[in-house]
Amino acid sequence: MSKHVSKPVVDFESDIWQSLELKSEESGKLVVGPVQIYYRHMLNEVWIATDRSQLEKIDTDKLEWSRWAFRSNEIKLKIVPMMPDRQITVRPDTPFRLTKGTSIRIYTRVPTWIAVYAIDDSLHKLVEIPTVILSKTWFGDFINGTLSYWLSTRARRSIVSEMFQPHTVICTLNIRNESDEDLSIEKINLLAERLSIYIKDDQLWSDEMDVLYKGGDQHSELTVKNTPPEYASDAVFISEPRNPVKKSFAERILREINIF
């Protein structure tokens, strides 16, 4: 069943994130990183299936199809990137320590999700597909923790071209240790569902984030800047956050969520 969406998605087109005017009886596929999205248009129906096998030739009839019927035969598909649907616990390959008063900027890549919309006379979200199926982890204690995705990162200090992948979102995190002690960074809890996505030359970027650490007995402060990082300052806004941070709500989140 499709979910009717009243709010329009951002009207931006790129080679991957595009609108497809479906012709009658048309079928085809879209490749976004490791996932292939197959579609069929039959009468007033849209069929969608995904494949991750990476095989060149596959029997599409054997795929697990989902189908939706619409009022009109004239249907457009719109493919939009989205951040994952829950928090992400990011673990640097090599844990590091921030001495007091130190600031660093790190970059980490998050595999994007793909939202497939159909547009007839209104907008319907058909399906959301993760480009990479991430394993999960438990963040926090046994009673009050949160289920989140698990990601290992190199926590790069600078942007290098090999980071660019069209199916990943580069997240920029500025961390400042304002406490009187060293800050050991073993895991970072990334509030993915609160981040917007921007695009520049087919590379996706998230909102830049500032984290201020004031000490173990005080709450860390997290600020989502609502802009892409300086490196991609002219990137274009392409996708809204799943759960935008509301000003009155933000403080409560920060109290509840232990950043490190």
Binding site: I133, T137, F139
Partner: protein, 288 residues
């Protein structure tokens, strides 16, 4: 002698009041039912099924009590003597219905203590199922083979109840046995790799493999993997399957109980020599 004529009571005023009372019931009961539905839906949406059911029941029974009292007053019953009589009858009924009263009180404790909610999966004795409702006298559960089970509240209060779905994550414990000839570190590494490759297994709390026992036929280790509660059944199936497949691939023997007979030396097994072909023996010993 006191003569009571029933027609003195069933006069025109009584019939008028009765019709007014019935009219009151006809109007008020659908309104109560309507509001019960609204309360259940709105509370369920905001606070969950458990509180939705609870609030709708509190509303329904209290409103029905008020409506009943109003109806009786309308048709001319005086509630004072009725309640007095109810007190006397209540004592008598109390002795006769100790079990029911016990269930009602147990039900109140269950609601207050909240060991489980509607929708939770619980184990009571040897029964496991999803809680359908928590009522005045009993709780109702649906077992996974689709049986409807009613358990009196008193039994729930007295027994150990395991709430399987209270917490979002669960641990799968498997005792894995392998032959004595195998390298224990290699087996541990393989098991951890199986957990690592399963996307349902949580990265943290970390999967663990700990030595358990030198059993009669195998070395046993405890393999512990965590998973979100909704993935638990699938994880159990996938991990067990993966262990068998992987052990077969790696040539690791999963032993069954067997006995080796030794002649006293440490390494040499007891020599067994076949003297005749089995078929020849069988042929000789077979009766004509």
């Amino acid at each position: 002698m006191l003569e009571i004529n029933i027609w003195d009571y069933l006069n025109e005023a009584f019939w008028k009041n009765l019709i007014k009372g019935l009219l009151f019931l006809v109007i008020s009961i659908p309104i109560i039912l309507y509001f019960r539905k609204i309360i259940r839906n709105s509370v369920t949406k905001k606070y969950g099924v458990h509180y939705g059911l609870l609030s709708s029941k509190v509303f329904y029974y209290s409103m029905m009590g008020i409506v009943l009292m109003a109806f009786l007053t309308e048709i001319g019953f005086s509630l004072g003597p009725l309640l007095g009589a109810a007190g006397i009858v209540g004592v008598a009924l109390g002795f006769a219905s100790q079990t029911s009263v016990s269930n009602i009180i147990s039900g109140l404790f269950l609601i207050a203590e909240k060991p489980f909610e509607v929708g939770d999966v619980i184990t009571v004795g040897d029964l496991t199922g999803a809680v359908l409702s928590i009522d005045t006298l009993s709780i109702k559960i649906r077992t996974f083979d689709n049986r409807f089970v009613r358990i009196p509240n008193e039994m729930i209060i007295k027994q150990v109840v395991i709430n399987i779905t209270r917490f979002p994550i669960r641990r799968l414990d498997i005792v894995v046995g392998f032959a004595y000839k195998e390298n224990i570190d290699r087996v541990k590494a393989i098991l951890l790799d199986i957990a690592e490759k399963n996307t349902r297994a949580l990265q943290e709390p970390e999967p663990m493999v700990n030595f358990n026992a030198f059993a009669s036929s195998a070395v046993e280790v405890n393999f512990r993997v965590w998973a979100p509660k909704e993935d638990f059944i699938k994880l159990r199936d996938e991990i067990h399957t993966a262990i068998k497949v992987r052990f077969d691939e790696e040539g690791i023997e999963i032993p069954f109980p067997h006995v080796s007979i030794y002649s006293g030396e440490v390494t040499k097994p007891f020599p067994v020599k076949m003297l005749k072909e089995e078929s020849e023996v069988d042929k000789k010993e077979l009766p004509d």
